[in-house]
Symmetry: C2
Subunit: 356 residues, 2 copies
Amino acid sequence: MRDDHLFAVIMAGGSGTRFWPASRRSRPKQFLPIVGRTSMIAQTAERLAGLVPMERVLVVTAAHLAGEVRGCLPALPEENLLLEPVGRNTAACIALAVLEIERRDPSAVQFVLPADHIISPALEFRASLEAAAAEARRASHLVTLGVRPTRPATGYGYIEVGEVLASHGEHAAHEVLRFVEKPDEARAREFQESGRFLWNAGIFAWTTCSVIEALRTHAPEIITPLEEAAGTGDLDSCYANLPALPFDTAVMERTALRSVLPIEYAWNDVGSWTSLPELLDLDDEGNCVSGGAKLVAQEARNNIVVGEEGLITALIGVEGLIVVRAGDALLVCPRERAQEVKLIAERLQNEAPDKL
Amino acid sequence: MRDDHLFAVIMAGGSGTRFWPASRRSRPKQFLPIVGRTSMIAQTAERLAGLVPMERVLVVTAAHLAGEVRGCLPALPEENLLLEPVGRNTAACIALAVLEIERRDPSAVQFVLPADHIISPALEFRASLEAAAAEARRASHLVTLGVRPTRPATGYGYIEVGEVLASHGEHAAHEVLRFVEKPDEARAREFQESGRFLWNAGIFAWTTCSVIEALRTHAPEIITPLEEAAGTGDLDSCYANLPALPFDTAVMERTALRSVLPIEYAWNDVGSWTSLPELLDLDDEGNCVSGGAKLVAQEARNNIVVGEEGLITALIGVEGLIVVRAGDALLVCPRERAQEVKLIAERLQNEAPDKL
């Protein structure tokens, strides 16, 4: 059913280093074809097709990444590209987009999505967004999507789920009892077994009125300067003084006007190279290849190989390695030490900043 | 002391696959800067400087490698480049060069050197070549250089050394009791401890007369067709029918007219990637880097990293790996499995011949 009030905000300002050397300062993960042949941001926009057309998709990113967004989303209208002078975490990013959509359509329902998640199938995803939009309108709540845990993950925040508030087709909106920060393994196991906890996917739906109201109540130090800057047009000095807060802690954890919509399909935030085996086909020895490179494996098992089309990687007798070749850089690292890629990135700041 | 009768033959027809992916069919190891900044063949020619000028250096290689030789040795006169239509092992290669030198100088003393060995210091090497030349003239023997074993190597042939035949300055020429093929480890240890065995370096000196005489006696099936072809000029059909024999087995093992000259300086035939730590500086963690790439190591030890200038390799928590990036290919392999690189090369014949 066509709904001209639906808008989507794609948050594309991230600059993580966990995908180095494929991701670089000038080209972070969301602009890379980590899984499949198009960039993650292009897949994110494509996933909305049929529900939110490109004219109502807004992308928020860092000023120096504007070219990457244009390259990945050639159909995005130029006025839908919102550039932040500096990164100030998701609360500022969301408030900036919220105010822009308010100017265009005060009756809008807004979806907010990270640019770099893998979600499938898209049809089910759009159905849950429609249900979230219905809940946002029904209750004037901030609605967040919650993912049914498939393992005791320690890398995600959790949402404790309460009573059913309303049903929307096959979906049910639930009370949010509380948000819980990344737990340790024992607690994560408890959460999963209890059946009462969902992963916090960081995907939201709300009406323009509800979110502005919530921002004014819980994060006035963010929305007030942004509203003033809309008058003066001086976003640079406004952003320089904005606090850098996650939307979850600034608003979601504080408001009572919130619902969570459990989703059951495949969701992955692709947090590091070790996410790839969950997302790609494995060969008989458990190796997976991303980016179109060819692998020749000789008694090599459970490796994650990343390389561009036309390249070949030969592995002999190695197991559980991450082997990434991208541009002028190469990374070799055991899967269980993937988090240390960040340390390499920190060292490169001093030792070889041009490789970062 | 200047000696215009000294000639050198550099054998540069090798096409081994043990240095894949740095070495390719079209550019084998001898044309690569495996150690240092110039190709191994350029270093081989440079090592002769002051003893044999380029006008008297002949290079024998495969027809399709002529361009590589010219690129590495721009000062080599074109008529000193001898091209074999097909590879027929070292006996044919040496016989071809021997006959060419005979045409130029029947009184020549010839040195024969593989293009892809590392020998240092060059001054001592040249001194031993002079001693070998003196022995070749004195006894009309085929003289071979023998390397004092520094470890119980199983990858080399050995020479059992007998009585001193003659002294030449600080060098002594010895009787050769026998050649022994690559031994197993126990035998190699015995050889080293006995003090009576030397590694067969495959470096020779002889007068033109002695070597032609030896070839006529022990390998007429090789030298006779080559002498005939010199008349007809049809090297292609001659080579097509030549047997492929190593000079060692075809001649050296059969003749009694031979001496060995022990050498004491550093010699390395750079047989595989695992030779590099013996030839390059190691960092504090035992890693070594060849080819000018930058290494960023995070708790990574005893790795061998090969990459071109301007590239960076980051290793996290890996030990004893060979990591080679060259052109469109990448190899990751434990040091102890370096020999299996040949298996990869065999697979590429079918799976990706353009990467070979």
